[in-house]
Subunit: 365 residues, 4 copies
């Protein structure tokens, strides 16, 4: 496959450039009978969309989704679901200065050399705008997972630049522009982000993603382990540079007697595994951390080269997120949902026959 499809049984193929006429996706393999309307998808799109606070890009997109197929009388039919989002606020002039040169840290350089041609308007296909299609597809996956197993997926920002953010409660996540599970540090974060923006620079971020009510037995060893597919999914998000499951890099200095989660008849006594052992879900909650690099398009002048190899100094003006990680929470949730639904269907293929002595995969922790 040429790279724009994710998933095997619930497979999502996306298309679209930042400044093209539209973006969207085709979902193939959504089980029939799921109640689905555009409103089910719109809410997640609205969480991701630009322009919602001064701390994100000021591009104004309604990100309004249209279902083109696969739904009949309000229910999925088992046939492909095409989702379309028209771009409405392209300003190609903003990007004129980068048509002939490469932004440091940006995909410009790699796209140009890979393809020999590049839609430079707004980063073209490499723009984070592409993730709108993922969020749309993820909303469908989330709904099916919730209705079938009660799965709940939540992502939140745990660090912005050097600012670590304490967990104070899920209820705060939707109440600040940072997707922070926090109330007490918001004012400090606002000031911090203002200072970053004013310094014409950008910062990285760290996010935590977790999922509850996971069926036991998801994941296909040895290569398509659940955690391997999660790592694939997370690292496929623009700007992500690191992924951890459970204890993550902390496991390096752990002893086996500390890391291994003990079991009792009442359940596991700890969750260093992050919900996955041997590449298979245990029914415990899934815990993931990801690192998001600072935005590469910044207004600070930097050394680079143009497409002819000549040295240039480049400062990127226009509308950019000073911390691209701030909008990553709905995207990470969507990607986790895509992994989970795909593996739920794969597991169902293998073990649906309940006369075989296998657990009901609906059995949650």
């Amino acid at each position: 496959m040429a790279g724009n499809t994710f998933g095997q049984l619930f497979s999502v193929t996306t298309f679209g450039e930042s400044h093209g006429p539209a973006l969207g996706c085709i979902i193939d393999g959504c089980p029939p009978g799921l109640a689905l309307s555009e409103a089910d998808i719109q809410s997640d799109l609205d969480r991701r969309k630009p322009g919602t606070s001064r701390h994100v890009t000021q591009r104004r997109e309604a990100d309004q989704v249209e279902i083109l197929s696969g739904v009949f009388e309000g229910k999925t039919t088992g046939t492909p679901i095409a989702l379309l989002i028209r771009n409405t606020d392209q300003r190609s002039k903003d990007y004129g200065n980068i048509a002939q040169s490469f932004r440091p840290g940006h995909a410009d350089y790699a796209y140009w050399h890979k393809y020999g041609i590049r839609d430079y308007r707004g980063g073209g296909r490499s723009s984070a705008r592409e993730t709108a299609a993922r969020v749309a597809a993820g909303a469908v996956a989330k709904k099916w997972l919730r209705e079938t197993f009660g799965v709940e997926i939540t992502a939140y920002v745990t660090q912005i630049g050097e600012k670590e953010i304490a967990f104070e409660g899920y209820e705060w996540i939707a109440q600040n522009p940072f997707f922070a599970a926090n109330h007490s540090q918001i004012e400090d974060l606002e000031q911090y982000m203002d200072s970053v923006r004013k310094s014409l620079d950008s910062v990285g971020a760290k996010l935590h993603i977790e999922a509850k009510n996971i069926p036991l037995g998801l994941g296909e060893p040895v290569f398509d382990r659940l955690d391997a597919d999660i790592a694939h999914a997370m690292m496929s998000i623009n700007a992500v540079k690191g992924v951890e499951i459970g204890a993550g890099f902390g496991c390096v200095s752990q002893k086996g007697s500390e890391h291994g989660d003990e079991l009792t008849p009442q359940g596991f006594l700890s969750n260093h595994a992050g919900g996955v052992v041997g590449g298979i879900s245990t029914g415990q909650d899934i815990h993931i951390n990801i690192a998001v690099k600072p935005t590469s398009s910044i207004a600070t002048p930097r050394r680079s080269i143009d497409i002819d190899g000549n040295p240039v100094e480049l400062a990127t003006h226009g509308r950019h997120d000073p911390c691209v990680g701030l909008r990553a929470a709905p995207i990470a949730e969507a990607m986790l949902a895509l992994v989970l639904i795909d593996h739920a269907l794969r597991q169902r293929a293998q073990n649906a026959d309940v006369s075989v002595a296998t657990p009901d995969i609906t059995r949650a922790k």
Copy 2:
């Protein structure tokens, strides 16, 4: 696919359990005309094999590989290459005590609930023994990459438990039992590992993997990015809990002006990207870190349950690696090689026509 195949154009399907008659793999898609003999593969297998020092499992396996197909008169023919490794030192009695209960932190529990049946002898399919097949396949990939582009892949251990290991030179890696690029700390590490072993416990490890002479343009956005496939590959290795590319989690507290690698006509001035931007290789060296959890099979008694849900206390005796990360270097190298060759072939499919204004993908940094 059912999970045991890695790669799309250079695809490797593995089989085999720890205590079954054999393990091995089929490589499908190896380009024709590559000189290949069993000796080319054996050297990497020997680096991975057990029993080479007191710090790894004492199981004695020659891990001798037989090429069953796909090679004629010393060259690959473009048809599938089957590789076979017979198991010779199974001692199933060692594992009798775990047939009816689940080791904390081990895949036992998940396999049992996923499949409803489990080859408990030596961990069955979940054993790290499975990685011998990966190393064998990786040796073929490495050879083709080296001969075609000059790619060199090197992995080494940078931390064992709480002991960070300083980089002192590639030449030391093969000269100590820890795959450490270090000379001065080896005695200290020997004592540390002896103490871990004597305490009937295990420790985690951290490895660094790097690759030089990488063609520009490898990686298929948006989902099959080079870094996403690397993350998938690394997290598919037994016991890996974290993956970083380039600056990794360090990018969270970086500013954009620091993280983005500036370009000059002479090349990049830094490599925080780790050789990949926008999911595509830039021709810079690739840099990866992985975290390997401590071995779950330890002789320290721990709480668990049996297959009927009753509480048990479990200590795993027998032959186990006290630090499974110590043998992970050849495996990580193999997995990176599998990712790189697959993407090299994918890129060649798209841009072989040199009349198209695209770079020769043989052009290394």
Copy 3:
């Protein structure tokens, strides 16, 4: 994959129902640098579209295609190409009578039982209308094949019902409503089709598809042989019940001394193979025949059952093709193009390195 994607390196995922808002596809893997506009695609769509003569369905669709992505300044960029065709002439009332019962020979019954839900309007996803998306994708493939290798693909109808149609020249194909390479029998065929229509019945058809200037070496034994993928492609077209390559069923009564195509330094002396041996193209022309069954939606009353299992008598009124094979020529051409481009890219992946002693795959017969 869930069934709506064709091809591995040039992969096409289609969506859309007969009476939904739109249909279309995403092409992933089109090589960059191909000049492409909507006009390139529209011409093939116009050949397939309904309403062009009294011998096909009277549904009026402009089948106007919009390119949503993947093309920049008139050239493909290597990123996904999304194609959108809005439906404009749905008349859902035409189909009201079949919502609750199953047409004999139609996909109604199977869809209902497979999915438990069915978009009955115009046959929903099972409608031949779906093939518009294939024709659109095929037009892109054809253009690349033509410009890269000079490949020319031509399909024509060789039999309608009991009427065999003599080959009189390619120039006639576009000059009659039957896609017949014939001039002298057209009036007879017009009368025949009029009589079929008046008798409220339908007939089958047979088509021949051929391709010239085929690169040598396309096809991946053993399962993804070129002929196997052609058979897959052709049988995936609505209503096709048989596929032959070269001598086809005629080979059964041939002797080996007759069937095997002799070679001389000047080329092959015959082409019973139809351009493929051992699953690999030889550079000879490709020859294919397909059988298309009579349309199942006919106005003649027939016995059937409703969704509750009760007996009904069913006559399908509304707008239907009395011979669905009449519009199959552009579809079969498109499918062959999709097979050929995919295998051309796969072959290029394996053998692009011209220092390997392999033939230039651009070398045509």
Copy 4:
């Protein structure tokens, strides 16, 4: 994928050359809990193996299969099943004369030009010997289908050269060397085959394959239709040049009123569809015909060229089947089984939730 894998959820990857050390396959995705021993597989291998009568090649191969993995205590575990068959009767000298030239009608020419290298011994990978691995894998699929749904698959030869063979009863198939469901014509066929052999020539054959007790709902429109995958599977068998489903090419001259199978509450009144409409199984029996070309390796001298392009006259001596179709019945059965099991698992993925109003796919006709 590189072409040697068949199936998506029950996927089979084969390897091996005619005169290499071994051939075999890995089955990935076999559901756990199936009782399986080597004897279950051996019986089908014995039906296919060479040397069983004077009418097939005299090569003597025991075709003894060894299960290397995936089975524990007599049951499949859900992990990959590797099957190994050692070659024991290679006589490479038999093939010396074809190392430098191409047999008319044989894959020699295409392999040479595709790969630039060729294992000419016994046809290498292009030999029908490769099908032993398919038959082995098919035996596993057949067993699961039989035990899960009661599926029964039967293939028999219906024509040899110009000799049509009347159906006289399934019981005769195993009682003659022709896989003919016939008793009265056997002597005539023996004489016919003797004359073909003595004339140093070969003939084609036609086979019928049918399957009973098929679950309703198998097949994934639009590209992975059940019939499309069957066509793919059948045309992937060496020497097959044509495939028909149900009425096949006969449908061309049928009227819609004749072809469409009428339904009553008691069931279908006919089966022109061959068990598949809209690409989905209806629960009716599946009916397939295939055409197998005459063996290309014949002892009659023929014109050809050598690898340098010089004209040669070539007669192939050694051990060859005078009618390769005679051993095709177990192979065709195996391929149909591989298609059916794959689609059964795919369907189960989509509809396992019996609370959805879909039919139990275990419900046979």
